[in-house]
Symmetry: C2
Subunit: 406 residues, 2 copies
């Protein structure tokens, strides 16, 4: 029987307590796990767990009966400090805290290894979708070449509402907030920060090196308008917020941005709050993992699965990576972009576009704008030409610019 | 360093040897695995591995240096015997042999446990898609309620060709054979036997009990005509060969049959040789795993991942189930069916259909047939009414009958 302390009695933390103590789960592995303490600064006098809630971390760190610390506090401080102390005290730590794993993963994984315990984080990416363990273990016989995913349920819900119901971005965001999918301050989701942390974790795990998540080029969906979504739809593409990364000449290319995906792309049909992660392995080819990427019980069940893994495997074979990943800002692959330009004089606009990009794919559009997709170019060449286009039309007249996936 | 013997130097077996010895893999875990012997009755004088190929299983079983036996022979005999002897000799066994796991899983898993070794079979379902380990471990904190999957790439390729290119079943099968997706004797695929073995394995793993795969009602795709596919398409459904199972009142309901899936169903967009498995967990909700379900390297990489798991975890936490699963032939859920009936007299036919099923959903059809979808009924009631319909029109005039998923 392993005793667990849960740090943070919020949505995920209370879900973890619920999953461990609920009856249908107990018949499976109930003898193996029990919750001994819950750390929270708030008081919960009416909770059935009031008796084990404490506001004193020292009680937990000094309790030799506690084998596993579940950290569901979020943020860097004090979560980093508590995690490091728990690991150094010989306790395994299980977390759903993506910011901490993305930023401090290498250091914490090393502390875990040095102390012969585990630092596990299945719940940090994809909620209840098993992705961390399959990437680390099941695909062990593969070189991971590329990862591409819809990693944030809130933004995917917003984009789906725009596509399916013709809602504006603002209305779809309000709708998501009303349904509890988006927080009152939705910046981390809609600016792509959450997706960025998740692709940083998946990349570190796949390529074995910590990367600086702050240095990953990250663009959210706040500039996506209903018009862009409709133009994309008119030529058979869906707009999705995509986190992606690949190994490229020993360096890691990573990026978060909206993309136009053709309807034949496996990620294009992933709708609402669902997440999906496409992994390209050297031997398996493309493998995709799909499910709800968030929510109290899916995330809690991923945390508990990690706890059970510790009980069963006693900490061997946990995922690991080291410091020292180097990012590159170009992948070497040719890229194509969708452009929407404000231009009253159609003919002049077209001549300008053709002068910069050569032959482009025109998209049927209203009178006052020119919409097209560029031919494939290297990222370096593309950046140069995009700058020329801005100079020609004025930056304020470039109304939409979204990368196209093939 | 663990030494491996590979039984059977066919497509999967040679792929395993290739993955273990190839350079890009060796830098990862190359120090941990090497191939010491290959068992095959054939001779391979030109193979670079000719020196370690033997036709004598006794040499392998008696070699104390060999820790892991990879069984890629297929079939029950002598694979069962060799596997049991290897486990009893204290060697772990990794297999891609779905027939053996489906039929003898409980017995072999018990032998493995009794001898403190592993019997692992990630490659038996879904080729390179990680599904066995996520089901066994990652979803450990869930009750698995239901499994539904496209588990056979050959039949999915054939159905996709019928849907996309309007090919008849016979032409699509020839095409699949020409491309190497279907064997010269395609019975195990097109009759649903392969899908049946895979759903038996997934069910045993999920519900903890061995079930008799021979007793699972199994229908292949040989009766699916181009007309059925087109009628389904005309109302927004795709025809897929589906293996599914669920727990129902302490008993296991399992079935293999073609089904009509609405386009909004996550499995309906799975095309060509891809497989996908949808798992409904009590906490995670729906989770889907997607990828190529077969092929030399995907399957070999799943076998090697199992070998690495043995190296890393030393055999703890392997999947397990016991004998004694009880099948039920009805799920308790209401079902709907698509029917295509030969009937020259439309009005008479419609009156007959309505007399049996009440109000049905008519599908626009040619003059000489009546096509419709029944209202939802329990399986017991449906079977009775289907018998009435046969009596009314004659069994030979029921041209198509396919379950509809909602």
């Amino acid at each position: 029987m392993k005793k667990v302390a849960v740090l943070g009695f919020g949505i995920v933390g209370s879900g973890v307590v619920e999953v461990i103590t609920e009856s249908s789960f107990k018949h499976k592995t109930g003898k193996e796990l029990s919750v001994k303490a819950i750390l929270d600064l708030r008081e919960f006098p009416d909770s059935p767990f009031a008796g084990i809630i404490t506001n004193d971390f020292e009680k937990i760190i000094n309790d030799d009966e506690i084998d596993i610390v579940v950290e569901t506090m979020g943020g860097l401080s004090p979560a980093f400090d508590f995690t490091l102390r728990a690991l150094n005290a010989g306790k395994s730590v299980v977390t759903s805290n993506k910011e901490l794993v993305a930023k401090k993963g290498a250091q914490l994984l090393k502390a875990a290894r040095d102390n012969n315990v585990c630092y596990l984080f299945e719940a940090s990416v994809g909620g209840g979708i098993p992705i961390i363990r399959p990437l680390g273990n099941c695909l062990a016989a593969n070189e991971i070449k590329e990862i591409m995913g819809i990693l944030n349920g809130t933004t995917n819900y917003i984009l789906t509402q725009m596509i399916k119901n013709g809602e504006t971005f603002e209305d779809a965001l309000k709708d998501a907030q009303a349904k509890g999918y988006a927080e009152r301050n939705p910046a981390a989701d809609i600016e792509g920060v959450d997706t960025c942390r998740k692709i940083a974790i998946l990349s570190a795990l796949s390529y074995g090196k910590q990367i600086d998540s702050d240095a990953i080029p990250t663009e959210g969906i706040t500039k996506i308008t209903l018009k862009d979504v409709e133009y994309a739809e008119s030529i058979g593409y869906a707009v999705k917020l995509i986190g992606r990364s690949k190994m490229s000449g020993g360096k890691i290319y990573a990026k978060v941005s909206p993309m136009l995906l053709p309807k034949s792309h496996p990620l294009s049909g992933v709708e609402d709050v669902f997440n999906a992660i496409l992994v390209h392995g050297s031997a398996t080819g493309e493998v995709m993992f799909y499910g709800k990427g968030a929510g109290k019980l899916p995330t809690a069940s991923a945390v508990v699965a990690d706890c059970i893994d510790i009980v069963k495997h006693n900490g061997t074979g946990a995922p690991f990576w080291e410091d020292g990943g180097v990012l590159t800002d170009v992948s070497g692959d040719p890229v194509r972009y969708y452009f929407r330009i404000k231009a009253d004089d159609h003919l002049r606009a077209e001549n300008g576009v053709r002068a910069v990009f050569g032959k482009v794919r025109r998209i049927e559009s209203g009178d006052d704008e020119t919409v097209f997709i560029t031919p494939p170019e290297s990222e370096t060449d593309f950046a140069e030409k995009a700058a020329k286009l801005e100079a020609l039309f004025g930056a304020q007249n470039i109304l939409g610019k979204i990368q196209v996936a093939d």
